[in-house]
């Protein structure tokens, strides 16, 4: 049965290894008809993008990394 639950497992696995052709086709067919799962796939992709960038992003000043404008003041030493 091509339930959404089963599809979420495939979508997670495809982030780690290549699915079999059968699994890929099954997934694509399901995604054609299921917006929830299409969004889920995109959510996973967004999360991967977020976590890949974690750590190097400057979280304190709200600026993108590499910009040279001054940081906010008021930071204290621990």
């Amino acid at each position: 049965m091509n339930s959404c639950r089963e599809m979420t497992q495939l979508m997670s696995q495809q982030l780690d290894h290549r699915l079999s052709r059968y699994e890929r086709v099954k997934l694509r067919l399901h995604l054609m008809m299921c917006k929830g799962c299409r969004n889920f796939e995109q959510n996973l992709s967004d999360m991967r993008q977020i976590f890949t960038g974690i750590g190097t992003q400057d979280k304190n000043s709200g600026e993108a990394p590499g910009t040279s404008s001054s940081r906010k003041s008021g930071l204290t030493n621990d």
């Binding site: 969004n39 999360m47 979280k59 304190n60 000043s61 940081r71 930071l75």
Partner: protein
Amino acid sequence: MKKFPSEIEHITEFMADQDLAALRKDLMWFACLQLRDNDLAEDAVQEALAAALAAKTSFEYRSSFRTWVFSILKNKIIDLLRNPWNSRRIQPAQTELGTDDFDSLFSVTNGHWNANDRPSAWGDPEHQLENKQFWQVLQGCMERLPTATAQVFMLREVFGLEVKEICKKLSISSSNCSVMLYRSRMALRLCLQSRWFQEIN
């Protein structure tokens, strides 16, 4: 805060005290997320900073120094996670996520998403990364993950290790690893959706 060795002073040529404090804060945030132990994180951060500061190479741009310190820290963290002695200092795992934890999202009859739980589109993730509140929500969601699950997820998504390597380092089976990754992604997606993306839409 522990003192840095006094011979390391050229850092102030290109990095003011408050910038160093801010960087240290980010490094600590990152290390605590992985190691779940403040002392261990503190040690790792101090060592990474000292190693970077002691280097003779000068850095023209702040961002490249920052990237470099983070890469030193990441290597230290991987070593710590690998070391079985250190894992005893890491908090014992809370109850790991079970198989049934996400069943309630799907209809019992046909396994499709329940209407209320259907994933929605999130918009541009880059945009979120610029928002300080988003980082706090993200941290909260990460902290809700049980320890072993979080570590597997981190090694895969933050450190980019292959599943095979993760299994080897943590001595778990590859199917176990896949299951933990699945559960972590389901939990994080749910958490981010309900605590952030749903709020802003």
